[in-house]
């Protein structure tokens, strides 16, 4: 792995060199538009340094390296707290779809380059008020309109829609066929007339998600990214395009060292908390879980390095790490006692217990709720039957609402 080790070292050296400008200390107290501006500058810096589009085709502005190089960079990047969140969906999901499926290739090339440089941001318009897990149940309508289409409906939970220039969207073009068969995939200009974006706050206090309303929004047929009625298959394919990304065995919370540090500097019944059996048990179990998840990742990377596909066990990462982190946060707040009641609204979840505890419930739902992940493991990996689905094979407009 010496080539990869060298790449890791190079990535780390660069990240350390820009950390004073973009790292978590530089971001302390920076919020709103100023934070977004930092995010844009950081993305541009990555592009200029050759760390954007790491595994993308050089013809599309990428670096032409392997997915493994990308994962290595992400692993190194994670602890610095860089303002990279604005580009997670954009470059992780939406732009790869455009790169692969957009009809106007010259236009797509311009967009991809602008997105890689951080100038433009893309969102993904999948979930709706009536459902997020049940993707094929979307109700937003795409009706033919002259030579093109018009969109009507509402999306929900759309990450960073308020800063987005474009989005990819799935909508129902035919309600008279079973739900998976009447969907079509498009890209949409988020500044077009009839698009309205309303941010709303999550329980942790932040507002990175939005309601998005579509009121007679006109699309040309050139904005179509899938065959008419073939949107569900394309949506599934898009989820596979960038399937390799760095996972966090800490469940996007503080690392175990922080738990140990806290336990060393707290007391339980007049004795150091680190000597308390309950605290020790929690730390030991948490270590065993995180070490296991890390070893799964290491093996997956070795397989990729050997030109093979990683096993399906990587799919347990978010499920297991998020729940574990949630309980660790509860214990940390217990250990802090009344001092744990303080809430830093700009706290970074990877360094702040309360911020982490407030944001974990979102993590357990976003990108596949725990229950959906368990279904996927049961059905796709173990071969257990699907749930009873009363809407199966039924024309969408005859499914009881």
């Amino acid at each position: 792995m010496s080539d990869l080790d060298a790449y890791r070292a190079k990535a780390r050296a660069w990240l350390e060199s820009v950390a004073p400008a973009y790292g978590k200390d530089a971001l302390a107290g920076v919020t709103g538009e100023a934070h977004l501006a930092m995010g844009r500058r950081y993305q541009r810096a990555k592009f200029d340094a050759g760390f954007a589009g790491i595994n993308w085709d050089p013809e599309w502005g990428g670096q032409g390296l392997s997915p493994l190089h990308k994962v290595i960079f992400e692993q190194e990047e994670m602890p610095f707290g860089m303002p990279m969140g604005y580009y997670g969906v954009s470059l992780g999901i939406s732009v790869p779809v455009v790169m692969r499926f957009a009809q106007d290739r010259a236009w797509a090339k311009e967009r991809v380059l602008a997105a890689l440089k951080g100038d433009e941001i893309w969102c993904q318009l999948f979930s709706e008020p009536s459902g997020g897990s049940d993707l094929a149940g979307v109700r937003t309508k795409a009706e033919t309109d002259g030579n093109g289409w018009k969109l009507n409906g509402q999306k929900l939970w759309t990450t960073w829609a308020q800063h987005s220039d474009y989005g990819v969207i799935i909508a129902r073009n035919d309600p008279t066929v079973p739900k998976h068969k009447g969907l079509t995939f498009f890209w949409v200009d988020m500044r077009a007339p009839g698009v309205e974006v309303r941010p709303f706050r999550l329980a942790a206090g932040d507002s990175h998600v939005n309601e998005v309303f579509f009121d007679d929004v006109k699309l040309t047929d050139g904005q179509r990214l899938s065959p008419v009625g073939g949107g569900f298959g394309t949506a599934m394919a898009t989820l596979m395009i960038e399937r390799y990304s760095a996972s966090d065995p800490n469940g996007f919370g503080p690392p175990l060292d922080a738990v140990i540090d806290l336990a060393r500097h707290s007391e339980v019944a007049g004795r150091p908390a680190i000597e308390d059996g309950r605290v020790r048990s929690t730390i030991a179990r948490s270590y065993a879980l995180r070490a296991g998840l890390e070893a799964i990742t290491t093996r997956a990377m070795k397989l990729m390095d050997a030109g093979m596909e990683p096993g399906p066990e990587g799919s347990i990462n978010k499920l297991m790490s998020a729940r574990s982190n949630q309980r660790i946060c509860e214990m940390a707040i217990d250990l802090m006692g009344p001092q744990g009641l303080a809430w830093d609204r700009d706290g970074w979840p990877k360094a702040d217990w309360v911020s982490s505890w407030l944001s974990v419930p979102t993590l357990r739902i976003a990108g596949g709720a725990d229950e959906m992940l368990l279904n996927t493991i049961a059905e796709k990996i173990l071969g257990l039957p699907q749930d009873h689905r009363p809407d199966k094979g039924v024309p969408f407009n005859q499914i009881p609402a």
Partner: protein, 364 residues
């Protein structure tokens, strides 16, 4: 760093599984539960014949010179079959202790026999419920070894044991032959493990190591055996996961396979998660043999494999409903084995504490 199994290792996994499947017999294992002093002789003959006893011992002493990775794979196949005689793991631990002692004479005398399956060995560290007490009550002095060691795995049949004892005010390790020892069989919930209370009254014994060196060697041997056992637990947990899956796919209730109910399928998916964590930790720990972080890797494997096997046993029985709690159904073979293995190389309190000590760098 973890590892990917190479072709030879994959062949060991497949072949051991095939042999044990062909020779497995649930009725034989069920009968053993009611025979204190009996063990799975078919398994043991297979182990000797296949060279599994020699696998992880040095070539110079008649072994095959392989390591924890390979022995772990054998243990995993044994765990899946609830096969097992307790000697494979305990004998390996005793051999490692002899090697650690540097006693060439004893090593030359016993290791070739262990490798050939002609001798059986075990370790006797625990007292009370402490897997490795700071100051054991067993004492070695000029008269010999005196004291009690409760619940020694394989204790009923082993030719010798390496005993954790006190010697001149320091903890020590001593080899004692068991031919003339007083051994009291425990009528156990998992009788094939040959548990015995050993009573020593000035028994002839040879000092192997003392003080810090004895403690280090004891912990290392315990950790090595824990990694082998973790593989055995992993094998059992994984087998249960597939048993539960197959039953849930065929058993029907309320007009559908019970695996279509989330209360059932999610239980099985949760077992999958625990099995994969345990597998990852087992492979990692086996690959860290002899490295400075071996103890913590072994502890992580031990904790996660125990959790996986206990949970898989608990939930697989539950998923089977009434049939799960019948004698003939046999799922209790796994349930029993899950708990006996969880106890043999030290309870979870011990491993949690040891892991936290390793993580915090706390002095003894």
């Amino acid at each position: 760093m973890s590892i990917l199994y190479d072709e030879a290792q994959q062949a060991i996994a497949t072949e051991s599984r095939r042999v044990l499947d062909a020779r497995g017999d649930q009725a034989r294992l069920l009968a053993l539960l009611e025979q204190p002093g009996g063990y799975d002789e078919t398994f043991w003959k297979t182990a000797v014949e296949q060279g599994w006893t020699a696998l992880a011992l040095p070539e110079a002493q008649g072994g095959l010179g392989l390591g924890l990775i390979e022995l772990g794979l054998i243990a995993q196949a044994s765990g899946a079959a609830t096969a097992g005689a307790p000697f494979l793991t305990a004998g390996y631990g005793a051999a490692r202790l002899l090697l650690a002692s540097g006693n060439a004479e004893l090593t030359a005398r016993w290791l070739p026999k262990l490798a050939a399956g002609e001798a059986l060995a075990t370790f006797a560290f625990a007292e009370g419920n402490a897997p490795l007490p700071d100051r054991p009550r067993c004492v070695l002095d000029e008269r010999g070894l005196a004291g009690e060691k409760p619940g020694v795995v394989a204790g009923l049949k082993a030719d010798f044991a390496v005993v954790w004892c006190m010697h001149r005010g320091e903890p020590a390790l001593a080899l004692v032959e068991l031919a003339d020892a007083s051994r009291q069989a425990i009528d156990s919930f998992d009788n094939g493990r040959l548990y015995a209370d050993l009573l020593f009254a000035d028994a002839p014994a040879t000092l192997l190591l003392e003080g810090g060196a004895a403690r280090d060697a004891a912990r290392d041997a315990l950790a090595r055996m824990a990694v082998v056992t973790a593989h055995e637990q992993l094998g059992g947990a994984e087998a249960l996961m597939f048993i539960a899956r197959d039953y849930a796919n065929t058993r029907k209730a309320f007009g559908q396979a019970i695996g279509a109910f989330q209360s059932v399928k999610h239980r099985i998916a949760e077992i999958y998660g625990l099995v994969e964590i345990a597998r990852a930790n087992c492979i990692h720990a086996a690959s860290r043999e002899g490295e400075p972080d071996f103890l913590r890797a072994a502890a992580a494997a031990r904790l996660s494999a125990t959790e996986a096997y206990d949970t898989a046993a608990r939930d697989t029985v539950q998923i089977h409903g009434g049939i799960g709690v019948t004698w003939e159904g046999g799922l209790h073979l796994h349930m029993r084995r899950a708990r006996s293995l969880a106890t043999e190389q030290g309870n979870m309190f011990f491993w949690e504490d040891l892991l936290v000590e390793e993580l915090t760098g706390a002095a003894e």
